[in-house]
């Protein structure tokens, strides 16, 4: 069923259809409406979820950890400073291998305080051990919220999964979204299978024990194995979802007109939509350009990204956040992915769109036009739409 809804509503609808046992959430702009919609569903009796309205995001994710260890299917949503407050607990959720699914309405981090979109919150959680997926539009946010559940809960993975959607650009704009039938989603996500649940009093367990130097390392290695299993599970879940939805989700990233491209752009989230328009404009003018839009950011599909970009002359990697003191995080990922190749494209790193700064089609066209003039990869940041 096609509906004109916001990204918020799309995520909330996915959550309603999944109907987790527990949702613990604290409101923050631009995520609040996800929480508000879900609270409405709970109070209207549309779902049997236990909604835990908490006093902070630290408590929200703590409640999620407790509920997941108890044996429940658990979801939450946050943004920016809220995620910053959650991060301590996010590492714990990942270390305990708890399959919590979280929508992250991407917003800048303070200071200066700002409520608009960039990816500094997602970057903050980069090394947390959570799987991170980026959506380009409300449709992808809806679809990946449903897929995330299966990826998180797969016994080979069992990790928190963050579904990123750009704050305001995706959360607050009304877009056409094809919703699946409730039963189809319920069947797809299936019954939740708890692992060693605390509420199974006949089989008592301790969650979150202390680990000394003799075991900490091995437990973290096992956690890395969960991350290493995620790409394979991601692909199989995509395949299955493509079948039930009729939409094409094939691969870790979308390669848009990339096959014969001489110049390419790599970008996360909604700006990929803008980039497609820029690609089409330049293609119409005869310039061979393309786009690589990662869906799966953590774990980073380095081998596949390397293969997809190997033939390109130069690549512009766009980061919507600083990684202060070094190059952008996505740039570092792409550079690492290309390093093993004998013949590598020239790379350039652009910082763009901080604090909700608009990035326009002409600006991206300009990036593509600049690429052929760059003669070697340099350890230097370039900027889109920044006043000198």
């Amino acid at each position: 069923m096609r509906k004109a809804i916001t990204g918020h509503k799309a995520v909330a609808e996915a959550m309603r259809q999944i109907e987790p046992d527990v949702v613990a959430v604290y409101p923050i702009t631009p995520q609040s409406e996800i929480a508000e919609y879900y609270a409405e569903y709970v109070h209207n009796g549309l779902v049997r979820t236990e909604l835990v309205p908490v006093e902070s995001e630290h408590s929200a994710l703590s409640a999620c950890v407790g509920a997941a260890a108890a044996g429940g299917r658990v979801m939450t949503a946050t943004s920016s400073q809220g995620l910053a407050l959650m991060v301590e607990v996010l590492y714990i959720a990942a270390g305990l291998r708890l399959p919590i699914v979280m929508a992250l309405a991407n917003r800048s981090l303070s200071a200066p305080i700002n409520i608009h979109c960039d990816h500094s919150d997602a970057y903050l959680a980069r090394d947390s051990g959570a799987v991170q997926i980026f959506a380009e539009n409300a449709q992808e946010a809806y679809d990946y919220t449903i897929m995330a559940q299966r990826i998180a809960e797969d016994m080979r993975v069992r990790l928190p999964v963050i579904v990123n959607l750009d704050g305001f650009t995706l959360t607050h704009t009304v877009q056409p979204v094809d919703l699946l039938e409730d039963e189809v989603v319920k069947k797809f996500v299936g019954e939740f299978k708890p692992y060693s649940p605390l509420l199974d009093v006949d089989h008592p367990v301790t969650w979150g024990p202390f680990a000394m130097p003799d075991y900490y390392f091995e437990l973290k290695r096992a956690q890395q194995a969960g991350m290493e299993a995620a790409p394979g599970v991601f692909l199989s879940v995509q395949r299955e979802f493509s079948q039930i939805s009729g939409r094409r989700y094939l691969g870790f990233f979308e390669a848009y007109r990339l096959e014969d491209a001489e110049y390419a752009l790599v970008v996360l989230g909604s700006t990929a939509g803008t980039a497609k328009v820029a690609v089409d404009e330049l293609r119409a003018r005869g310039m061979k350009v393309g786009l690589l839009k990662p869906w799966l950011w953590r774990p980073f599909p380095a081998k596949e990204v390397g293969e997809a970009l190997a033939h390109v002359k130069a690549v512009a990697v766009l980061d919507r956040a600083f990684s202060f003191g070094t190059m952008g995080a996505l740039f570092a990922d792409v550079a690492s992915a290309l390093y093993p190749l004998e013949k590598r494209p020239i790379l350039a790193n652009y910082i763009y769109g901080l604090g909700g700064r608009d990035t326009t089609v002409p600006e991206l066209v300009h990036v593509f036009e600049e690429l052929p003039k760059i003669k070697k990869t340099e350890w230097a940041l370039r900027y889109i739409g920044l006043r000198e």
């Binding site: 270390g95 305990l96 291998r97 060693s196 089989h203 008592p204 437990l219």
Partner: protein
């Protein structure tokens, strides 16, 4: 580190099955004071068993029979809660008695 398990053998998320840590971690060595049970004063109210944070009050047939000195950390909660002063805290000497 011979005898320790490899990473593939560990339970998901480091979850510990009930009762298994008891064999690995003999935490009684941390104790500075040792509880001594005076059976003649004990009325078997089980308050010590109920309050012990380390499950170190030994019970047999529903009655207190002594302490698990391999795990008792000497916190003294049992002595404090005992209504009949049937539990006495005695300093461990020179670390010698810290071993069970």
């Amino acid at each position: 580190m011979a005898g320790l398990k490899g990473w593939r053998e560990l339970p998901l998320g480091g979850v510990v099955t009930g009762g298994t840590a008891k064999e690995l971690q003999k935490t009684g060595g941390w104790r500075a004071e040792r509880p001594i049970w005076h059976e003649e004063k004990c009325i078997q109210c089980l308050q010590c068993w109920l309050h012990c944070p380390d499950d170190s009050v030994l019970i047999k047939g529903g009655k207190v029979v002594g302490f698990d000195y391999e795990h008792c950390k000497g916190c003294g909660v049992c002595a404090a809660i005992c209504p009949k002063d049937a539990i006495e805290m005695v300093p461990e000497r020179g670390g010698e008695c810290a071993r069970p």
